[in-house]
């Protein structure tokens, strides 16, 4: 059973419909995807099924319903699908997840702190062993946390594969904060060992991020991502 929910950024009720279907898809075992009208896949669906209204629900390549379904309606539509075993992955849609939003906020805070050095000292570089401390607030703080946020939000959307979230994602963010703060404290206090320990934690955090992104980029099912059309062309009905 293949269920596609057609949505768009500008459509307020789409966010509501997505929330309902996201919950149902985590309880029942069926093939679920949120399709964005702004992407070629969405445009292809619109023109193939001549859809005129969103949110639109497409089940096995036929228009099944429009508008927002209640939880009960959604469950009855997928009535045949078996219950799902608890899984730590989730599909990504329009709204950024909680860990993603937390990473954006962290990123902005580090940008602000690094910007303070730029505004007050006029440079991201200091003297002595602390020379690169503000620079790392910018690169390992602002830039890396922004990559964490956009990576877990955009790569699953681009590839259509789910991303692992939950405890693993929070642990990654926690390690990244602890690592960066230890690294910068080490630079300022002149303690090479504190900086080294911080660098190792930050590296482990990035490794966790890379491990989370790996199955998003290279999913297990062979062929699932193999025979794709060139970038930007519109896929014909499959």
């Amino acid at each position: 059973m293949k269920v596609q929910l057609l949505v768009s950024d500008w459509c307020a009720s789409c966010h509501q419909a997505e929330k309902v279907w996201r919950e149902v898809s985590e309880e029942r075992d069926f093939d679920f995807a949120v399709v964005d009208m702004g992407q070629p896949e969405g445009r292809e669906l619109v023109s193939r099924l001549r859809l005129k209204t969103i949110p639109a629900l497409v089940v096995d390549d036929r228009l099944a319903a429009i508008g927002v379904q209640t939880r009960q309606e959604a469950l009855s539509i997928v009535g045949a699908a078996p219950a799902k075993l608890a899984a730590p992955t989730h599909h990504v849609g329009l709204s950024m997840g909680t860990t993603g939003r937390a990473a954006v906020h962290s990123s902005l805070v580090y940008l602000f702190v690094a910007g303070g050095f730029l505004a007050v000292k006029g440079s991201l570089f200091l003297g002595g062993f602390a020379r690169v401390a503000p620079l790392h607030l910018f690169t390992l703080g602002f830039m890396t946390f922004m990559v964490y946020a956009l990576g877990e939000h955009m790569l699953p959307r681009f590839t259509g594969n789910p991303v692992r979230g939950g405890v693993f994602a929070w642990l990654q963010l926690g390690l990244a904060h602890a690592g960066l703060l230890m690294l910068v404290s080490g630079f300022f206090s002149g303690s090479r060992w504190l900086a080294l320990a911080g660098a190792c934690l930050a590296w482990l955090a990035f490794l966790m991020f890379a491990l989370r992104m790996w199955p998003v980029l290279w999913p297990r099912q062979a062929g699932a991502a193999g025979a794709e059309p060139p970038t930007g062309t519109i896929r014909e009905g499959d």
Partner: protein, 131 residues
């Protein structure tokens, strides 16, 4: 577009012309402008032209992208005064070759950045519109 955001963009354009003029005068005769004309030019361009353009466009666009109204219109209005005051203080510092004045201007400008970041962060909430 909110009047305050149009003011931010207008100030950005004006500072680009003022900062450009400082560069032109320096090229004509490096001694004509007292103090450090090169850092004056650079900071007017960075904190005037570029930063105010980002403030004006960001305050217009980011609430629309996130689906939430701006967290505080009043804080954004204050940010307009604070950012301009910071830049004027810093510019006066470069002209007077006064390090304390430059530092004060830097701290005030930084506060303006902080007000912008705080306002945008509470607009783009951790829990989105549906959560």
């Amino acid at each position: 577009m909110h009047k305050r955001n149009r003011l931010f963009v207008t100030f950005s354009l004006a500072y680009a012309l003022i900062g450009g003029l400082a560069g032109i005068i320096w090229l004509y005769d490096p001694g004509l402008i007292p103090g450090d004309a090169v850092l004056l030019h650079g900071h007017i361009m960075l904190l005037g032209f570029i930063a105010m353009m980002i403030y004006g466009v960001g305050l217009h666009v980011l609430p629309r992208f996130s689906g939430n109204p701006l967290y505080s219109e009043r804080l954004a209005n204050w940010q307009l005064y604070v950012s301009n005051a910071g830049l004027w203080l810093m510019s006066a510092g470069w002209l007077a070759a006064s390090n304390p004045l430059v530092l004060l201007g830097g701290v005030v400008s930084w506060a303006g950045i902080g007000m912008f970041a705080f306002n945008i962060m509470l607009t783009v909430k951790i829990h989105g519109p549906a959560g």
